[in-house]
């Protein structure tokens, strides 16, 4: 999600340092045997016309090829690097535990995101996060406003994105003491005040209205089991509730390309596509609601086009570069799209609409900072950060697992299991934790928080 990006990298290794001659040297039979040539050679068709876009694309391919074809890191028989778990865990712990220097003041309004990104990353890496419970309660309490919602920090205006991040962080650690930090009644009143006549939500009082708002609000409402009626002071047209018109708003964001834009009229973009599908999948079963509001073939065509070869990763928009975080924003669309193509039953786990292998290769070979720094990144020339660490790992989780959707009375409809059908290019030791495809926290944590609030009648 662009909104949450740290964006405080201070530049990376110069991509010009990568030797083009070396990149195109495919004489090593060893490498060729391990890695399919799809991932070791430039795409079969490259137009000769040079523009800014094609230049950047070419540079990115050249930057990735050495990592894909001839990885110097410990790798398996498929030429895929191992996951540097301890380094990545240490990297995110540092963000949580250590005081950031004054130069990080730019993230002062995004601290709730750091809570979510870091705790979710640790969880995916199989680390124990329960130890953060007390400090999380303390930190989150200061961010909450008596008028409802959480802001970026003490005295900051409540915002849907920061509220979303705080609630998810609390949910991952889990437990009544953490859930009870949330003032649900105030949250409900505040959400009622953000509801827009067009169906969506403003991100904050006076804030922007976009598809992130639609998703964040739906996540909060459904996890906290909030009443759908608007709080009395906001109850304008009769029958208009928190979910009214939400799906229609999402529909208005589908573009001629088939992808989803942040708001009507804009360009299709990966992060918003996930928000749109996530929002719809909360409102109703994906096989009913997604085809009802979106043009599926165009959506699939656009989403599929986000994957590039030889890089294997996803880009966020047409003719933009691959970037590790879209492993989640685009990768996370696939379970939802696949569920909508398999009404009322299991998704066919033998076929995937995207190349899981390609994504896995890009993540493990190109997105890991294997130096002492640790963490995951956009692409090899960029520095790792907490945002990319979280969403690259989430994308890896999605690539490693199969999802099913079946409605059962009172039970969580989403099921997650290991994806076993296709040839697995990653080592079993590198399997990360599982995620709920809509809430992007572990399945069991979704069930736990929903159960907790289901038992609360009223406030």
């Amino acid at each position: 999600m662009a909104a949450g990006r740290g964006g405080f990298g201070i530049g990376g290794p110069d991509s010009e340092l990568i030797d083009e001659e070396f990149v195109h040297d495919t004489s090593s039979p060893h490498v060729a045997a391990m890695v399919p040539d799809l991932f070791t050679h430039p795409a079969p068709i490259v137009d000769p016309l040079r523009t800014t876009t094609s230049q950047a694309q070419k540079e990115t391919v050249n930057e990735c090829l050495p990592f894909l074809a001839d990885c110097h890191q410990p790798h398996n028989d498929h030429g895929v690097s191992q996951l540097s778990r301890p380094r990545h865990a240490a990297f995110v712990r540092k963000w949580l535990d250590q005081r950031m220097s004054r130069h990080f003041v730019a993230v002062d309004a995004s601290r709730p995101w750091f809570l979510y990104w870091c705790i979710e990353s640790l969880d995916l890496l199989g680390e124990d996060v329960s130890q953060y419970g007390d400090r999380l309660v303390q930190t989150a309490s200061w961010m909450q406003n008596p008028t409802g919602g959480f802001g970026g920090g003490f005295g900051q205006t409540s915002h849907l994105a920061t509220s979303y991040a705080v609630i998810l962080a609390l949910a991952i650690v889990g437990g009544g003491a953490l859930y009870d930090v949330i003032d649900r009644r105030a949250m409900w009143k505040w959400l009622s005040s953000l509801k827009q006549p067009n169906g969506s939500f403003a991100m904050a009082t006076g804030g922007e209205v976009d598809v992130r708002g639609a998703y964040c609000a739906a996540v909060i409402i459904s996890l906290l089991n909030l009443p759908l009626e608007l709080a009395p002071e906001h109850c304008n047209p009769p029958g208009f509730n928190l979910y009214t018109g939400l799906a229609n708003y999402v529909q208005r964001c589908q573009t001629y390309e088939g992808g989803i834009s942040g708001k009507p009229d804009a360009e299709a973009h990966g992060a918003y596509a996930f928000c749109a599908l996530g929002c719809l999948s909360i409102l109703d079963s994906p096989d009913r609601i997604i085809p009802k509001y979106l043009d599926i073939p165009r959506l699939v065509s656009w989403t599929s086009s986000r994957q590039y070869a030889p890089e294997g990763g996803f880009s966020g928009r047409t003719n933009k570069l691959v970037d590790g975080c879209y492993s989640h924003w685009i990768g996370g669309c696939w379970p939802l799209v696949e569920a909508c193509l398999s009404p009322g039953g299991e998704t066919d786990s033998t076929t995937s609409l995207y190349s899981r292998e390609g994504l896995t290769r890009y993540i493990l070979n190109c997105c890991q900072d294997t130096t002492k720094r640790g963490g995951l990144r956009d692409k090899p020339s960029r520095l790792s950060d907490a945002y990319h660490t979280c969403y690259v790992l989430a994308g890896l989780s999605s690539a490693q697992h199969a999802f099913s959707y079946s409605e059962r009375e009172g039970l969580e409809p989403w099921g997650v299991s290991s994806h076993t059908a296709a040839e697995q290019v990653f080592g079993e030791v590198d399997r990360v934790g599982t995620l709920h495809p809509v809430y992007v926290i572990p399945q069991s944590k979704v069930v736990a928080i929903k159960q907790y609030f289901a038992s609360k009648s009223g406030f």
Partner: protein
């Protein structure tokens, strides 16, 4: 205060005590440091102290010495308590004894015989550089003392200023001269505090204008996660911001406060939202604000709060444009709007020069076009064309073109809005033709560029044209498909051909196209191309709904249903009989969803 000790006792008196401490040596009467001076004064004031420690305590003193010591201690303590609760006779004896001993009544306290580390009599503390103040020369010490006196003096003047301010009923009624004087005093005070104690006085704490605000500091405690070690300036400004926001104060000083914080942290949404609320309530001119905003924007290219702020500004000020003949002012009917639009476009160009795909700039531009009705502004269309000319792969420019052409109220149904991937009967045929032609020409420049292909597909769907009409065009990029000398210069052409052939019912050819994509020309999408979801491979446009019936606005769930709408009115077997491999189990299984959706469609 030790320094209150009155003058040095006479040397004669000193000799009387019989003690001879080194620091009391006459050669040290001009001590080099303050510590030396203290030691000297101490010895002089407490002639028995050294002896007492030499002989192991009070018990070791001679009876006379002991009496003197006791009396002296008694008097000093009593003096501290401002009373001498002795009967007259005893009082008289006491003073006699003291006077006879020749020991100065006042002197540095004995401190129970203890000295500070380093054998110091008194700990003067350290200055801001960490230097022991006791090691100052008397000259340096005197200077420091002067500064401290000045601090006290300035503080007293400051209190007088506050009193005056209360008396006259606020800052507004005070003479500017008075306020300026206080400002200068506080500057001096801040400088002195920094010099003396290394204490930073915040800009706001220094400013008389902010005296009435009690800042609200951030106190999260030690354990806070993902915390930041804020600079003093930022922390101070934020604590004032919290205070004025809580008061809902909308004033010029708050506007300046927001500017200060934005310059330190432009990603601070709270400050931006607060800033707008101030601007709208003070009715500050949009021109000034936009000029300022432009500078901030160019300095922080990746920032996106600026764009929402800009939109809020325009929403707020737009009603000031005079309506024309009762119609909202647009670039078409109002010179004023046009002029404003052109100045905005000038600025947006600067931003796009830096990053031609900046999502937030483009989103704002789309907002601007709708708000000001720039659909027919030749500068707008021309600019987008220029960008595509510069980089035919700039998808943001393509996307904007689609928007200005197909959302133009002259070309589009507006009630209800028709989804972007669906046929809109209001699109004029010549517009569709023009755009198809434009996309084709751009494809020919670089056939593997997906942007114009997506555009072309979008135009066909919007204009209700069949994909099969593109067969001939696509074939120029695909040669001898399936043969040994097969030549493909655009995988997108091959993909569109698959769609066109499927549409025409030429199943085998479509199958071949998809197979060759999966095998060679677009292998990364093999899963989609070969996969079980045959329903997806069908053409995406809805020409049939265009030709067989009109769009039914009140029932979107039926009409917007992509599968049903697309297939209706066509030979189903053409599409459904079109898995890549006939008879493939997974393919027939995957066809089910499509069938079910069609059932649900019920038309």
């Amino acid at each position: 205060m030790p320094s209150k000790s009155k003058g040095a006792p006479k040397a004669k008196e000193q000799a009387n005590t019989g003690s001879n401490p080194s620091s009391a040596n006459p050669s040290n009467i001009n001590p080099k440091t303050i510590n030396e001076r203290s030691a000297y004064r101490y010895e002089v004031g407490n002639p028995l102290a050294s002896k007492k420690s030499e002989v192991g305590g009070v018990q070791g003193l001679s009876p006379t010495e002991r009496a003197t010591w006791t009396n002296l201690t008694y008097v000093r303590k009593a003096q501290d308590q401002k009373r001498l609760p002795l009967p007259n006779k005893a009082n008289k004896d006491l003073w006699k004894s003291i006077n006879e001993s020749g020991v100065p009544l006042r002197g540095l306290d004995e401190l129970e015989g203890l000295k500070f580390p380093g054998n110091k009599i008194y700990d003067w503390g350290r200055d801001r550089a960490g230097r022991d103040i006791g090691e100052y020369t008397p000259e340096q010490f005197k200077k420091r003392r002067g500064k401290r006196l000045r601090v006290t003096q300035l503080e007293v003047l400051g209190r007088q200023f506050q009193a005056l301010r209360r008396k006259v009923g606020g800052l507004a009624t005070l003479e500017d001269e008075e306020i300026d004087k206080e400002r200068i005093r506080r500057e001096e005070l801040a400088k002195l505090r920094m010099e003396l104690y290394g204490e930073k006085t915040g800009t706001y704490a220094q400013d008389p204008e902010w005296d009435d605000i009690e800042p609200v500091a951030q106190v999260e405690g030690e354990g806070a996660l993902a915390s930041i070690a804020y600079s003093d300036d930022y922390a101070e400004a934020m604590s004032y911001l919290r205070a004025v926001m809580a008061k809902k104060e909308h004033s010029p000083r708050c506007l300046r406060l927001t500017e200060n914080i934005i310059l330190m942290n432009p990603a601070h949404y709270t400050v931006w939202l607060y800033r707008f609320s101030i601007i709208s309530s003070l009715n500050i001119s949009i021109k000034n604000e936009i000029e300022w905003l432009n500078k901030v924007s160019l300095a922080h290219l990746k920032n996106y709060q600026i764009w929402h702020h800009r939109q809020l500004l325009l929403d707020h000020f737009y009603p000031l444009f005079d309506p024309v003949d009762g119609q909202p002012a647009t670039a078409d009917n109002s010179e004023e709007v046009k002029e404003f639009a052109l100045s905005e476009m000038g600025f947006l160009k600067k931003m796009l020069d830096e990053d031609a795909k900046n999502y937030h700039v483009w989103s704002y531009r789309q907002y601007l076009v709708r708000k000001l009705g720039l659909w027919n502004l030749s500068e707008e269309i021309g600019y987008v064309e220029t960008l595509i000319l510069e980089d035919v792969r700039n998808n943001s420019a393509w996307s904007h073109r689609f928007f200005i052409v197909f959302s133009n109220p002259a070309h589009a149904s507006s009630n209800p809005e028709i989804p972007a991937t669906k046929f809109d009967p209001k699109v004029p045929a010549d517009v569709t033709e023009r755009e198809v032609g434009y996309a084709k020409r751009k494809i020919e420049e670089a056939p593997q560029n997906q942007s114009p292909w997506n555009y072309l597909k979008g135009v066909l769907a919007r204009g209700g044209k069949k994909v099969e009409e593109m067969e001939e065009f696509c074939l120029q990029f695909v040669n001898k498909l399936g043969e040994a000398e097969e030549e493909v210069t655009s995988s997108h052409a091959l993909d569109m051909l698959a769609e066109a052939w499927a549409e025409k019912g030429e199943k085998e050819k479509a199958d071949l196209a998809l197979r060759r994509l999966a095998e060679k020309w677009d292998r990364i999408r093999e899963g989609k191309e070969k996969g079980g979801h045959a329903a997806l491979i069908a053409p995406a446009h809805s020409y049939s709904s265009a030709t067989s019936r009109s769009f039914h606005p009140p029932r979107p769930q039926k009409n917007l249903h992509s599968f049903g709408a697309r297939r209706e009115g066509r030979n189903r077997s053409k599409t459904d009989g079109y898995p890549p491999r006939a008879g493939d189990e997974s393919a027939s299984k995957a066809r089910k969803p499509g069938a079910e959706h069609e059932g649900a469609q019920g038309e």
